[in-house]
């Protein structure tokens, strides 16, 4: 027997009643109401914490019950069984397990699930999509960051020829064309577009001590092309942002976008390492020591650090906070690791055949 409120579903009048279960039937008594329904015809709402439970009849009437203990005992005696989810929702042990499993699922999705899905999708996307994406990216870059190249046609042709002559490594086969640009703003740099074009900046050509270093960078970019890194990065980034929004988006969308960037930085490190390996394999296949790429990277780091010191004017007295911030976010430690790895790859080089290392 438990106290309940009864509503007939036709008016909002509240009837104070007593409900009880007797031989498989629900009994509602009091305040002018007298009702007996077989329990099988009554929809019993699942228990959600201490919230009132509803016993609904097929004609739209229902009872609102707050006396959980009495109702549960009566239902149990009549053979009513709680659903699995209903039981899990009331168990702290299940909640603790669910926390662990959710965290595990998030980690697996982040580390393997999303990258794998992005890889599968990127490899199957029609070329038109990456073409379109590359066009719009290059257009945007041209507008803000890039200027026409100042290299003469001869130099460009030589680089393109040398680049085209590179043998791909055994597993590779991406072919690419070079887009020459200049960018005092971006400095020495090169980047691959998703459709396979590689943008090479004059500043990098100037910085390089020899053409092999440039080929090293281009081979690295070819690695990005070969593994569809551009498209995968885009897909993975969208997926991470989407999932984070679903996770905490109702609290704040900003909260979702902020860590998304940090999480993607990890993906980008993976891709850089993979592209370096591809570059090393390409260079080895063409008898060039992979340390050529390391040489260039080292010079880039030196120039960046020196450049920042030279630019002391707008740095002001904030050197310390700047350095702290950089070690947290920048690729510095990752770069020294990359250099080391590339230098080690030199050991795989076949003995020199007419090629002199001391240029």
């Amino acid at each position: 027997m438990s106290a309940a409120a009864y509503y007939d579903g036709r008016t909002a009048r509240r009837h104070e009643v007593q409900v009880s279960v007797e031989s498989g039937a629900l009994l509602v008594l009091g305040d002018g109401i007298q009702r007996r329904e077989p329990l099988s015809a009554v929809r019993v709402s699942e228990r959600l914490g201490q919230a009132p439970r509803l016993l609904s009849f097929s004609d739209g009437a229902h009872c609102e019950v707050r006396d959980h203990a009495a109702l549960e005992a009566a239902l149990a005696a009549a053979g009513y069984r709680q659903g699995l989810v209903e039981r899990l929702q009331r168990s702290w042990r299940a909640a603790a397990l669910a926390v662990l499993l959710c965290a595990g699922a998030a980690f697996i999705a982040y580390r393997w699930g999303i990258p794998l899905a992005a890889q599968l999708i990127a490899a199957r996307l029609p070329p038109a999509v990456s073409r379109q994406l590359s066009d719009s990216t290059l257009q945007a870059l041209d507008k803000i960051w890039l200027e026409p190249t100042k290299l003469d046609a001869q130099r460009r042709a030589a680089l393109s020829r040398g680049f085209a002559r590179l043998h791909p490594p055994a597993e590779g086969g991406a072919s690419a064309t070079i887009e020459f640009r200049s960018s005092p703003k971006l400095g020495p740099n090169a980047f691959a577009l998703p459709d396979g074009r590689v943008v090479l900046l004059d500043q990098l050509v100037t910085l390089a001590a020899n053409d092999d270093e440039i080929y090293g960078v281009l081979a690295h970019e070819l690695g990005h092309v070969h593994y569809h890194h551009g498209m995968r990065m885009l897909l993975q980034g969208s997926a991470v942002a989407l999932l984070l929004t679903a996770w905490v988006g109702d609290v704040s969308t900003l909260l979702a976008t902020l860590p998304a960037g940090l999480l993607q930085a990890h993906y980008s490190r993976d891709f850089e390492a993979q592209a370096d390996d591809y570059a090393a394999a390409t260079l080895l296949a063409n008898g060039i020591p992979p340390s050529r790429l390391a040489d260039l990277l080292q010079r880039l780091v030196a120039q960046r650090d020196g450049g920042n010191k030279d630019r002391g004017k707008d740095q002001g007295g904030n050197k310390d906070s700047d350095g702290e911030m950089r070690s947290y976010l920048s690729s510095h430690p990752a770069t020294s690791e990359r250099i080391l790895r590339l230098r080690q790859a030199d050991r795989l080089l076949p003995p020199p055949q007419g090629w002199s290392p001391g240029r």
């Binding site: 007939d8 579903g9 959600l48």
Partner: protein, 357 residues
């Protein structure tokens, strides 16, 4: 409920009460979250029903609770449609210009109706004391409010946005029913402009002062373009992070607290159910405290505090709502008949949908 029978004109306000608990909701939330993950999102429709049922049933007015009746499958259907529209919107222009324009036209034609039907679905599936709420807004009204509001706002640099917000609320509240009693909406356009105008001044003051502060704190961190690094996410972050933390985040939290408190108070104190009124006075300062502390707690717990955050916010909102009866409530409520015609009509609608998340 105690009414002084000898003085029927002295009517007691009826306060809304929220009884949910963070720990209870956490247990429900985490189990349903896990099931949603395992089923790749499909179970989230069932999770949504449980969430709404937990919050509705824990909301009490005059001794009775509210109930949510939405069906998970209908919600799932709505989510599929919503996702498809999102994909069309996101990738239409990347396929080609024609496809892009066509997808925009499709969205413009469909969205107002879908939003109208979402309002209808939500209200029809809400009940109090066994009587359903209803929404009877017309399709024409939806086009005017949603399409007109969208284009009328962006083409006037949002100068007309407060007007359209008022029109939307009038459409939404003015077409809502409980039983056979209609809600009505009485807030004026100038009241909306007053709040938005003050919010804009606050926004200007915040952005200017916080930008100056950020400039002082972080001017050494601005990116050095010749740094030689790839123009990648890290470089962008180094620049964006201070701006986000010092300028964007405080601005968003403060403005949403101010707008949330003032607009919700304005809207509900000017909404009537028949002759009955509501009192709803939220404090922007208190709401800001809830937003900020919720935000920090959610960040520090990597998201696991969010059930407690949701309960805190719901309690603050519900506990400040009071119904001010114009006539004895017991009689008014008891005499409310269910509008039987409405049930069949709306339940049978093929286009019943809930695209809200």
């Amino acid at each position: 409920m105690d009414f002084d029978q000898t003085q029927p004109l002295r009517l007691e306000p009826e306060a809304v009460r929220f009884h949910g608990k963070g720990s209870e909701y956490f247990q429900i939330w985490i189990v349903n979250l896990l099931l949603s993950i395992v089923t790749l999102g499909i179970y989230s429709a069932w999770a949504k029903v449980r969430r709404l049922q937990y919050f509705y049933r824990n909301t009490e007015l005059a001794g009775s609770t509210f109930e949510y009746h939405g069906q998970p499958l209908t919600i799932l259907k709505g989510r599929v449609v919503g996702l498809l529209l999102l994909l069309v919107y996101r990738f239409g222009f990347q396929v080609s210009l024609t496809v892009g324009v066509l997808s925009l036209l499709l969205l413009a034609a469909l969205l107002p109706i879908l939003l109208r039907n979402s309002l209808r679905f939500r209200l029809y599936n809400s009940s109090y004391r066994g009587l359903r709420f209803r929404f009877t807004g017309s399709a024409a009204g939806a086009y005017g409010v949603f399409l007109g509001g969208f284009f009328g706002s962006i083409f006037t640099l949002y100068l007309l946005a407060p007007l359209f917000h008022q029109l939307f609320k009038e459409y939404q509240h003015g077409n809502s029913w409980y039983g056979r009693t209609r809600f009505s909406f009485h807030a004026t356009t100038s009241q909306f402009y007053g709040i938005y105008g003050r919010a804009f001044l606050i926004f200007l003051g915040l952005v200017i002062s916080l930008s100056i502060l950020a400039g002082f704190l972080f001017h050494g961190l601005l990116p050095h373009p010749a740094a030689g690094a790839k123009p990648d996410i890290r470089q962008l972050l180094r620049f964006m992070l201070p701006l986000l933390l010092v300028v964007y985040l405080p601005t968003v939290l403060l403005l949403s607290a101010y707008l949330g408190a003032r607009l919700q108070s304005l809207i509900w104190t000017n909404t009537r159910l028949g002759e009955h009124r509501f009192e709803y006075r939220l404090s922007a300062r208190r709401l800001l405290w809830i937003y900020v502390s919720n935000f920090l707690a959610v960040v520090l717990t990597l998201g696991f505090y969010s059930p407690w955050a949701a309960v805190r916010l719901a309690r603050y909102h519900a506990d400040h709502m009071t119904l001010l009866p114009a006539s004895p409530l017991q009689g008014f409520i008891a005499d409310q008949p269910q509008d039987v015609g409405a049930i069949g009509e709306e339940a049978a609608s093929v286009f019943d949908i809930d695209i809200s998340f």
